[in-house]
Symmetry: C2
């Protein structure tokens, strides 16, 4: 057996996968470790949550992307810790992986800012489980509301609260409102568009704070056109089984979506290296952990501060992608004992979508809102998807939804069956056009 | 409010959905009750179980099929029982639905033939939950095998037993073998095609007993070409956590799929009407329950014996579809006080697929096996799918799989995360090209 140098990559997201692909053919053995068997295109996760796309359209097995690279091995498992001195990663299976270079790219998880107990009453949006859970909760809320006779309960069932006015929150609120009003309301005989309430809560006084104020205002207008109620400059003080408490007022809701922020996965703390106040790993100009040039940390886990800047790069897919490619180039350079060049982020701008023909884009090439922004958003997301199959699937689903005003994946498959799955005690109201006690509803 | 006549349909499968669609525009109020929110195209369920299709490609919300019919209402819930005298259906929510005509089309469930306790160690194939569970078990078995160092455990992990040599069993065995050998083996560095064992067990001495013996023989040959091990004329005497006991011999396996038979859902017993030995509801020449002309029973739940025949019609989609349409026509006739005409089944033949370019077809038009049968099978299944979107999705996935030899939906999303999800205690073998104790695997 050879004594080839070992590269261990923790995480098969944008950063890790691009690092592995960038090392295709290099004279190293690569092991990529992930807790999931698939790479997830997170920017479109909210469309899985709102019945627009199948999980299979935005996820692709890590193995099918890099499994045929002869120097790359994929391991399903969780990295529990790293021994920086012995250069070993310990997995949850008890096994260890020795490395010459380590790429830590394990991403972020939902941040409840110290209110972890809220997690049982609200759902974040970080993985397919979250998205499918949100999808089923929304669909079951409509089913229950259709059968509900008590007005207050019915109102609660059709109220959805989204916490956090960043891109994820804006996209979720817009998509839930559109799903409810445009797609679902028509198919339920007792639900009218006006019965549906979608409330977006943001602590700051405007949405999408990284964007220019005029784009934030445009996003707010576009959301209001879709019927979303904005609560700007308001604070969530509690989340319970009944709903969310906003500025002291309980908003009864059938679903509270948590889109308020993320934090690095807990592996960051177990590395034993210097973290920022937000819990990210401090890295140098080469994306390497301070004092450990053989350990890279990239993507959402890392705080990379560009030369001359004061803030770290944001947690965006393009940052992770560019860093992944950079790390691969740097390791190739190390193999030939070349001096490392610093990482330079090429900022291509930011964008967020709100709904059909609605979006905002802010970049060097184009800064706009509305239809043009929406088309640009769609184009960029198709291009960044991994694989021909996923591109075709997503494009087809989008065109089909655009033409038919329908959503393709309104399935409830994982919650308990039938009536037991309905989120509240409910009674069945009389069928349309029937009268008399025989069709009435005992509670 | 009007006093329109009420039609209650229990079940949104092929029978119920076709009955509801056939009554579009008729002067009745229709309520369709189902435990699931979606109609499922069961003939392709095995492709969801083997990562070929997304759940969303073969399921469509019942509401989106009939929800915009003005006279039709969809209720998510379970029918607990029927009062044939008061003409009322009781739902699990406690509500009741009065009917003038009742269509019972609730389908079938997995039949363990008195060994219900086997259910905890084997998975049937009746709904999307079953299919997703099988998919994840197969994929996780491969992940675990890739990391396993103990030979016996590894062998067990890569052994899959399918019980039942009818169309479902033949399709499952062929598809698992093909998935393992053609798609997966290439992407795992430590798994070779020859490590994978797929065993199909059938009590009868030939597969596909409803087919002509030469087609059964052809199916057996085609399965063997795909590497499936056939155990014909053998009996399963136990199913445990370790595997299946066949003719007294324990076959250690990571997954046992139960495709051995179905029985009507338990609602059949609660109707209080005459059942056959197999538990099906006896119906007359009008698909009506004996003595209850206002209660139709169709599809897998019903035993319809054609005039002059001795056997009931088989549990096939075309039977349910034709009966659903017939019931709609009959109710329309009843509304105009016309005499009922008997139901006549138009037998278009039977078909089963085995794998890429492999199938058997037996019908009036065509009786053949191999490529031509496979193309005919594909054509018929695309045509019978409900909705343009599903047809395009399935067609695209098939063409993509045909060209790339890949499968599009190899996702594990619902089992516990990462290493905890692996089906057996396992250790991680050394990475390729590494040596020495630092990369070894403590157990």
């Amino acid at each position: 057996m050879s004594q080839r140098k070992q590269v261990v990559i923790i995480g098969g997201g944008f950063g890790g996968l691009n690092a592995a692909r960038g090392l295709d053919g290099a004279d190293v053995d690569i092991t990529i470790v992930d807790r999931e068997n698939h790479h997830l295109f997170q920017p479109l996760l909210y469309q899985v949550a709102t019945s627009g796309l199948s999980p299979g359209a935005i996820a692709v097995p890590i193995r099918s992307v890099v499994g045929r690279q002869p120097n790359t091995r994929v391991v399903l498992g969780e990295a529990l810790g790293v021994d920086l001195t012995r250069k070993e990663v310990t997995l949850s299976s008890g096994a260890t992986l020795r490395y010459d270079w380590l790429v830590v790219a394990a991403g972020a998880k939902t941040n409840f800012f110290g209110n972890e107990h809220w997690a049982q009453h609200t759902i974040g949006l970080k993985n397919l489980r979250d998205a499918i859970q949100i999808r089923e909760r929304v669909l079951l809320a409509f089913e229950a509301a259709e059968q509900e006779t008590d007005d207050a309960t019915r109102k609660r069932l059709l109220t959805f609260v989204v916490i956090g006015g960043g891109p994820t929150g804006v996209e979720m609120a817009g998509a839930i409102s559109e799903l409810g009003r445009t797609v679902l309301a028509d198919e339920y005989q007792r639900i009218h568009s006006s019965d549906i309430r979608v409330i977006l809560v943001e602590m700051a006084t405007r949405l999408l704070t990284p964007f220019r104020p005029d784009l934030s205002a445009s996003a707010a207008d576009q959301l209001r056109e879709l019927g979303v109620e904005l609560r700007l400059g308001q604070r969530v003080t509690d989340v319970t089984a009944a709903g969310a408490v906003v500025n002291g007022e309980l908003i009864p809701a059938s679903l509270v979506v948590w889109a308020s922020g993320v934090q690095p996965v807990s592996l960051a703390q177990r590395l034993g290296v210097q973290l920022t106040r937000r819990g990210q790993v401090r890295v140098d100009g080469n994306c390497a952990v301070l004092g450990h040039p053989d350990v890279f940390c990239i993507g959402d886990m890392a705080a990379f501060i560009p030369a001359g800047a004061t803030d770290a790069l944001p947690g965006l897919a393009p940052v992770a992608i560019q860093q992944g490619r950079y790390v691969a180039r740097t390791i190739r350079g190390d193999l030939r004992s070349m001096a490392r060049k610093p990482f330079v982020y090429v900022d291509k701008g930011i964008m967020a979508t709100i709904g059909r023909s609605r979006a905002v884009v802010q970049s060097g090439v184009l800064t706009t809102s509305g239809l043009l922004a929406w088309l640009a958003w769609g184009f960029v997301h198709i291009v960044y998807l991994i694989g021909f199959r996923n591109r075709v699937m997503v494009l087809f689903e989008w065109m089909w939804a655009y033409v038919t005003y329908k959503r393709g994946t309104r399935l409830v498959t994982h919650l308990p069956r039938g009536a037991d799955a309905l989120p509240s005690p409910h009674a069945l109201a009389p069928a349309p056009g029937t009268t008399g006690p025989t069709s009435s509803s005992p509670r």
